[in-house]
Chain length 335, copies 2
């Protein structure tokens, strides 16, 4: 299988993405198209030529001399940077030169490029950007996290169906528990959007809808899929990052004020690592753009090389188990 990988996406690109590409290419069934500035990538990849020749030979560099920054306006950036690594990745999939693409870059730009070059799946009203949220029991998929700031109940309903199919096929959960993010568990709790979405989800028999979920219960792993509008999802995600950083800061301050700080500091680093391992995305790697007509996995900006490798694995599984076809051909059954 051929996976296009955006070498320039993420906070630690291109070193981490190149390393991730090498790790991914060690798998028998995957070849990597590494997309970014040719010279730079050739140069950096060189060191793997001798110590990992097998993987090295399975990586092909595809030139893309522009990059889209995390801070750029998605639509504008994609329109103006036709040769950006993200756009080139999407085009490779559109031209059937790659089976899927993976990027750790600007998720808005990835969605824009995917819509522009790949289009939507038949029957899908709005595609969603999803992410993987860690929980005490493992992880859950959160959709949408920013592609659709103003939603209709039908959008959320489709996010639920698409995420549930992804969860079943790729994460191998038999009957994924799908929950609707709201302000109380009761069916009567919520805003206009969630109340209407609740009735839609409650009527369908195709997915395992477990009702509303509150913010605090996401972390406890009560659901495998949590759906919400992209405004709420985006705020939630960023607030979570802020709290984690703040807590680590407070713990460190406490340790530094202790008379036995030199003894406790290594312990702090252990805690930090534990939380970052748990609360980062490396184990799962990435989550899909759902609803576009091509497989695309979006990884977290902070991804390390293991996360990149795992995001490529998620892309491979999504293609292998034909998730897009499953969504397209089954969508009408739920409606």
């Amino acid at each position: 299988m051929i996976i296009a990988l955006d070498a320039m996406g993420g906070d630690f690109a291109p070193n981490v993405t190149i390393e991730g590409a090498v790790l991914a290419a060690q798998h028998e069934d995957r070849n990597i198209l590494l997309v970014g500035p040719e010279k730079l990538l050739l140069n950096k990849l060189e060191k793997y030529k001798n110590n990992n020749r097998l993987a090295y030979n399975k990586i092909e560099i595809i030139d893309a001399n522009e990059s889209i920054l995390m801070s750029e306006h998605p639509a504008k950036a994609v329109r103006h940077k036709k040769n950006s690594s993200i756009a080139v990745c999407a085009k490779l999939v559109a031209d059937k030169k790659a089976d899927a693409f993976v990027s750790m870059g600007n998720s808005g730009a990835i969605m824009t490029a995917a819509l522009l070059y790949l289009g939507r799946l038949r029957g899908i009203l709005r595609p969603a950007i999803t992410t993987v949220l860690p929980t005490t029991k493992g992880a859950c998929i959160l959709a949408d996290i920013g592609a659709n700031v103003d939603c209709k109940p039908e959008y959320l309903f489709q996010f639920g169906i698409m995420s549930s199919i992804f969860c079943k096929k790729v994460i191998k959960i038999k009957k994924p528990k799908v929950a609707l993010l709201s302000i109380g568990e009761e069916a009567s709790k919520g805003n206009e959007l969630t109340l209407a979405t609740y009735s839609l989800l409650n009527k369908t028999i195709g997915i395992n809808f477990i009702g509303n979920i509150e913010g605090k219960d996401i972390c406890h792993g009560k659901a495998d899929v949590v759906i919400c509008d992209g405004f709420t999802g985006n705020i939630l995600l960023k607030f979570g990052e802020g709290i984690t950083d703040t807590m680590l800061y407070l713990i460190k301050q406490k340790i530094l004020s202790s008379p036995i700080k030199w003894f406790l500091l290594p312990f702090f680093h252990l805690i930090k690592k534990t939380l970052q391992t748990k609360f980062d995305y490396s184990r799962i790697g990435g989550a899909p753009l759902l609803g576009v007509n091509g497989v695309c996995i979006v990884g977290h900006g902070r991804s390390n090389s293991i996360a990149v490798k795992n995001a490529v694995a998620a892309a491979v599984e999504t293609v292998k188990y034909d998730v897009l076809n499953e969504i397209e051909s089954n969508l009408h059954r739920y409606l």
Copy 2:
């Protein structure tokens, strides 16, 4: 000044609220009307008769033989339990027998009772439930956290004005920084509601509007007041609680798996206490219902007696600095 205190509100009521009442009554300028089941309260208050006679004499018990649980539907509960401690508190303020009331109970029920017995301030479209969020720099006010799940831009605009006045008068911040919760700092980022609210806030010169704030920046203390619709605010707040609990759980698991766990456990309890002190509400006690025609401070359900005392102090300050009149008489200037 006479403050009505709902003895039955909060997770540790009535013990903690009674203790808080005693602490509050030690202040020269405040008398407490302790509202709840007379017999129970008389019995529990008895122990302070000898060891804190001064405070004891400044507390009067007002009988209210019903309680509203945290899990009850606010409107239904207030309608059916006319003699609940929350309803009686609101009536005491309406009848001018108390200058303000304080409750750690069901915030939806507090809002319903306040609206029913006290009504709205002139010119206010929708009152807001606010809360105090801890930040690395101190704290900020978040409004609304659940009273208004579907909002219009004008509501959010008024939440900003009311919270800013409260911050100025009670928390003594000269020019409180007011921010709008959104998915990016740029004016162009947000949903229909926040985009329209942004233009309203940006036009007014009466408050110090600093623009949009993202979820992650709330924790860093970039703003003194953060405004949002009650759906988003409620989800944010509960997600924050969930993450804090989850992180503490993960840290504890890590420690328990360590060979030196007995040595590290006391350190864990120190961390837990640090985070709980920082992330709880005791230092500030409570935040106001803003927009109702009477002073009401809502404390956190997990409040300890210090928090109860501080919530009473916030009520006293709100009355003393005439926050309601300030809101009512100045509202038209901003519009």
